[in-house]
């Protein structure tokens, strides 16, 4: 019963959000805010070359999943992959679209971007509220040569559910047994400490406003807002800087070949150069769509985007998928999606 209610809500939300979608030939999608910049760039360029318009509503991953399940859009998008069971129940197929990364950002006077180092367990303890001062011996231990103040740490997290949060807490769960058992992972969790900002921009604004704060945002936001991001120790024990190269390394080291329906979360990826909190965005589409022509159009768009949209993605600090993975995705389309 609630299902139909939520479906109707989702529908109403969609109608309100997307009056433009009334134009029939357009391809409609909805979901993660994380990919919105690259989606809108892709769709602008795609409509210039082909005349087909993509109308993407960045309503959040949860919303994207609800929309595609309600059948109101041609594709949904989520930062949290659905497992094969859930996909099969809904008759959906899933494939990655683009890779990005989540970075810790801090507001400590006198510290330059990239100069402060964190380990995974350290981040987990800070976000658990166990480490409360910037000059805590555990932080000092991995930051030789950096002067850390005797100041309170204020944790800033997302107040809304988000794929960014999902990847962040998924990483914390992988590196901290305490986090895994006490908090767990999801698009929103019960934060033990801190203040919540709405959206990446909300977290960025709070971190800028509160001295001694630490938050997490997507790399693009930290670069655009000139925030102090930190280096994080990866699974191989190396401290790496967040960058397209380190995200790329994480994507390349991931084992996509054996991931059924591409169900793979690439946080804490192996490899010396890998960024530990890299994030993949996923596209959800019906395997047997009601309107095959529209799904065909959508697949044509993604084929174009994955093959020809790499420069646009890189310009926005996203990592395009490796060629090998693109080939695997195209084989998946041919085999699974009847459009």
């Amino acid at each position: 019963m609630l299902k139909t209610f939520s479906t109707r809500l989702a529908l109403a939300g969609f109608i309100a959000a997307g009056a433009v979608s009334a134009q029939a030939a357009d391809i409609t999608g909805a979901g993660a805010t994380f990919v919105y910049p690259v989606m809108s760039k892709w769709s602008a360029d795609y409509s210039q070359t082909t005349g087909n318009k993509i109308n993407y509503q960045s309503i959040g991953s949860g919303g994207g999943i609800a929309q595609i399940k309600a059948g109101t859009v041609d594709f949904g998008s989520s930062d949290k992959p659905l497992d094969s069971k859930e996909l099969a129940e809904a008759g959906l197929g899933q494939f990655p679209s683009v890779i990005g990364g989540v970075v810790p950002v801090v507001n400590i006077k006198g510290i330059e971007p990239g100069k402060i180092h964190f380990t995974g367990p350290l981040l987990a303890d800070i976000f658990l509220g166990k480490i409360t001062k910037w000059n805590d011996p555990q932080i000092v231990a991995v930051n030789a040569g950096v002067t850390l103040p005797d100041a309170m740490i204020t944790v800033v997290h997302r107040s809304d559910g988000s794929g960014t949060t999902f990847n962040w807490v998924n990483y914390l769960s992988k590196v901290s047994p305490e986090w895994k058992s006490k908090i767990g992972e999801g698009t929103s969790v019960q934060w033990p400490v801190g203040v919540g900002g709405k959206g990446n921009e909300g977290v960025a604004a709070y971190v800028k406003q509160i001295p001694g704060s630490i938050g997490y945002v997507e790399l693009a936001y930290s670069l655009q807002n000139k925030m102090t991001y930190g280096a994080v120790q990866n699974a191989a024990g190396k401290f790496v800087q967040p960058s397209r190269e380190s995200f790329q390394a994480a994507a390349a080291s991931a084992d996509w070949k054996n991931a059924k329906d591409f169900f793979l979360i690439i946080t804490n990826a192996p490899g010396e150069a890998s960024w530990p909190i890299a994030a993949t965005n996923f596209i959800l589409m019906y395997k047997q769509p009601k309107d095959a022509a529209r799904s065909k159009n959508a697949l044509a768009f993604f084929k174009w985007a994955l093959e020809n949209g790499k420069a646009q993605a890189e310009a926005l600090d996203f990592v395009p998928l490796p060629d090998e993975l693109v080939k695997q995705i195209e084989a998946y389309w041919a085999a699974e999606i009847k459009a």
């Binding site: 209610f5 809304d160 203040v195």
Partner: protein, 332 residues
């Protein structure tokens, strides 16, 4: 010669069936008009009950799962699927209370100034300026709060409060904590600024309705301006003033955007007013789009229903207070 003129001249002279027809038409028109306005009245009632019932229906899963504990627990755990509404309810009430504590006296002062003290040439421009304030979108207040007011709070006001009020025995715990600048006190102050235009313009309007002879009599007896305001103007306009206050309170309880900017959106229950909290409206606005399980969504809709109930209770208390005041009227 029209019938209108013929009738008063002598209904006897006019044909009886014409009079009857006229009366019939009048009755029909009257009846139609009554249905129309009754419909308008019932429409409001139907919309209100419809909204309340559909939220109760949408939230039934949360109410049936958590029962009464939904009101008394502080958990808000989307992973463990445990939800309790105490933190948002508390935050909503506390921020609204702070807002009213500030807004009511200030609005009273503004209205009094504009009706009794200010020189006439100043009254109209200031009154229109206040009404303009009421038209500012709440997101503007939120952004102003976060980017301008929060730094002032965290660098000046909060350190002062923690230093001077923090050590006090009973009220102390209300003013302890790190100077984040984001929290319930800040949210309450921003809310106060937002509701002042509503309350003060209602107060000003009703203060203007006080007959001059009442005020002049009081002045003639040697009253000061304050005595006239307190003993003549306020008693005369009391019910309308309280109405205005509750208009502001209703807005403070339901305000969303401005609050979510400066409240901190953290599901923690703390005594300190300087710490971040959450409100019902802010929680719904923040989390609705990503509520990914049925119980989560249901809990948020249940929160919406609770906001209804909280507002209803607050307004009912207001009505009771009014009735009490009116009953005491004769005893004085």
């Amino acid at each position: 010669m029209s019938t209108d003129q013929a009738l008063p001249a002598g209904a006897l002279g006019a044909p009886a069936d014409a009079v009857a027809r006229r009366a019939d038409a009048d009755r029909r028109a009257d009846r139609f008009f009554r249905y129309l306005v009754t419909g308008a009245g019932l429409f409001v009632l139907a919309a209100l009950t419809g909204a309340a019932l559909s939220m109760l229906w949408g939230g039934r899963l949360a109410f049936s799962t958590f029962g009464f504990e939904f009101l008394t627990t502080t958990d808000w755990d989307a992973v463990g699927k445990k939800f309790g509404a105490l933190v948002p309810i508390y935050g909503t009430l506390v921020t609204a209370l702070i807002a009213m504590l500030i807004a009511v006296p200030v609005s009273f002062g503004i209205a009094l100034f504009l009706t009794e003290v200010a020189p006439p040439w100043l009254r109209t421009p200031v009154a229109s300026a206040i009404e303009l304030l009421a038209g500012i979108p709440s997101i503007i207040y939120g952004m102003w709060g976060l980017f301008v007011f929060v730094p002032v709070m965290s660098t000046t006001v909060i350190p002062f409060l923690t230093e001077h009020l923090g050590p006090l025995p009973i009220f102390g715990p209300l003013f302890q904590g790190p100077p984040l600048g984001i929290g319930m006190l800040t949210a309450g102050i921003v809310l106060a600024i937002m509701v002042i235009p509503f309350i003060s313009s209602v107060m000003r309007e009703v203060f203007l309705t006080v007959p001059s002879r009442l005020k002049e009599s009081a002045y003639a007896l040697g009253s000061t301006t304050w005595e006239v305001a307190w003993n003549v103007v306020l008693p005369y306009t009391r019910s309308a003033v309280i109405g205005g206050i509750f208009l502001g309170l209703g807005r403070a309880l339901g305000e969303t955007m401005a609050v979510t900017f400066v409240l901190g959106n953290a599901h923690h229950l703390t005594a300190s007013l300087l710490m971040p909290g959450n409100s019902i409206a802010a929680t719904i606005a923040n989390e609705f789009s990503e509520a990914d399980s049925e119980i989560y969504l249901s809990s948020l809709i249940a929160l919406g229903f609770l906001l209804f109930i909280v507002t209803f209770i607050v307004l009912a208390i207001a009505k009771l207070m009014l009735m009490r005041l009116n009953r005491n009227e004769g005893n004085r």
